[in-house]
Amino acid sequence: MDTTKSQFEVDVGKTPEQLLIERQQRVSDAIQLKQPDRIPLMMGMGYKLAEMGGITKQELYENPQKAQELLEKAALRYKPDLIFGHWHTPKPSIAVGDRMTKWPGYGLAPNGSFQFNEQEFMKAEDYDEFLEDPADWAIRVYTPRAFQNCQGLALLPPLGMWAFGYYNILLNYQLLTLPPVVSAFEALYKAAQYQSEWLNQALESAKRLAALGFPPFTMLSILVEAPFDFMSDTLRGMRGIFLDMMRIPEKLLAAEEKVKRFQLKYAISTSKATGIPFVFIPLHRGSDGFMSLEQFERFYWPQLKDMMLQLIEAGITPWVYYEGVWDQRLKYLAELPKGKSIGSFQDSNIFKVKEVVGQTMCIIGGMPLTYLKPGRSPSEVRELTHRLCEEVGKGGGFVMANNVMELEGCDENLIQVWTDATREFGVYSA
């Protein structure tokens, strides 16, 4: 690599159209484990946008125009190859009375950060009903528990009755006029409208970024979870799932099989309908420290691996976010087919990651948030960036990124040092 000149000046004078094509190519090459012209840079700005704009996080959600301006400002300042802002919008959650998320201004102070409030919405004694008919259980039992404004759904007859045609009209349609049922459907409709409004904003945002030369960021659009995490995050909670592992392992395994199947159906059909070739899989309880390797080999990895293989078989690239530390588990990741998945790494030893899975998957990550906090020195940031480019970037297949997809509380000048250094040290010599 040429480390003698500051390469970020190279882009000066290029049109947004040119830059868009170059950036897309750079990212696409890295994903395919090829060596691009230089290491692509991805930035998850998160709530940094609110700090930059001097507004609260609540305002960031409630003023999409302002949020877009701030995102564009960040993009033009730091010139990454991929950029995204804060996560989603609270409106649909508020409409349905979502009990598992908390948002700035809704369940939190206006400057609080989005949080997932894990609870035991599914009890251990629910397994049999869940296994017998997950869809019926999800609509009539789970949704009323997890979404306060949807309690009326508990009054519906077993969903299988819908297969009874005319007789179902005769026997059950009057239930749809019951006030709690009506208000549940109204809440769902309202949430759907908000969701659709948000999607239109996201598409508009992508268009505006593209006009400035920044590729649309669609990678997070289709989300599924490792079957174990699906059972844990929104259903049993961590305490519940670990007790299930010890007390009723066979039921947990059977449930994982079920959720794997319908998640695959969902992901594959959505990918076909939208043309989005990525499926995002954030991982939670499989990282080092939660369970033993033996437990991982029984309850976590086989189900996740099978899910990934089936997605790959369907022409989809799984983008997996390996949250936490995966240092003891990297050898499993090396079993995946080469060049067919993407791995974002949070706190794993990124140099070790390159060594073990560098030939298997495109690696995203590298810059720990703690390096960019006020008080760290620019030379530290520059040195680490240099080392990341040299070692993790070696031969391609690397996208430089901040490790937690969030830059809240980071020093803007240190961010600049990092992004500049990535362009300076990230150039591949021909």
Binding site: K102, L108, A109, G112, S113, Q115, N117, E118, M238, R239, F242, L243, M245, M246, R247, G289, F290, M291, S292, Q295, G324, L369, T370, K373, G375, R376, V404, E406, E408, G409
Partner: protein, 209 residues
């Protein structure tokens, strides 16, 4: 029988542990003997956890076993016969953060390792930490935070304790994104990655061998 109970708990045989407890009580054994067996079992599990030989599922199941055992012995336990504690610890997840899983595990491990734990819950403002520390006379405060946003409230809590004149109180921090840099930033006395690190710090600060 104590030995059998220790073995049942450490081998994660939940039903056996409860059965043996019941047998011990039926045979007229002192409830404190049962508690002592539980303590020894937890010591073994804690060591295994520290060594990476057992993980969170085992800690959670052990916690469940302990809860059920203590439910069984509670009616027979004399108030004055409770076990002697090493010292008091005030624990909570800092303001703005509602994550409780890690905090609960740390509180549990401190408790079974002989500390009297005051758990303030989640989203705890600095003033509440100060108040509880004064009230209990605890010399150790444990701050938990999963989010990166926890750094500032941690710092604010450390400062609030100092401002209230509680200079002899030691503060430990822990959570997803905590390291030595963050410890320095917050002004805390120690940081740790897991529940056993918290126990070790509390032991050291209270002079427990």
């Amino acid at each position: 029988m104590s030995q059998e109970l220790i073995q049942a708990i450490t081998e994660m045989r939940e039903e056996d542990a409860l059965k043996i407890t019941q047998q011990m009580l039926d045979a007229g054994k002192d409830p404190l003997e049962v508690l002592e067996a539980c303590r020894q079992a937890m010591e073994v599990i804690g060591k295994r956890f520290e060594a990476g030989d057992c993980f969170i599922p085992e800690l959670i199941l052990a916690g469940e076993m302990l809860r059920q055992v203590s439910d069984l012995i509670k009616p027979r336990l004399q108030k004055e016969a409770t076990q002697k504690k090493h010292g008091k610890v005030v624990i909570g997840t800092v303001e703005g953060d509602i994550h409780d899983i890690a905090k609960d595990i740390v509180a549990f491990m401190l408790d079974v390792n002989g500390f009297e734990v005051t758990d303030l819950g989640v989203d705890v403002p600095p003033a509440k930490f100060v108040e509880a520390t004064k009230e209990t006379g605890a010399k150790v405060v444990a701050l938990s935070g999963f989010l990166t946003l926890a750094y500032d409230p941690m710092k604010a809590t450390v400062e609030a304790l100092k401002a209230a004149g509680l200079n002899d109180v030691k503060v430990m921090i822990g959570g997803g994104q905590i390291d030595e840099q963050i410890r320095q930033f917050t002004g805390a006395d120690g940081w740790g990655r897991d529940a056993m690190a918290a126990v070790k710090m509390a032991n050291a600060w209270y002079g427990v061998n």
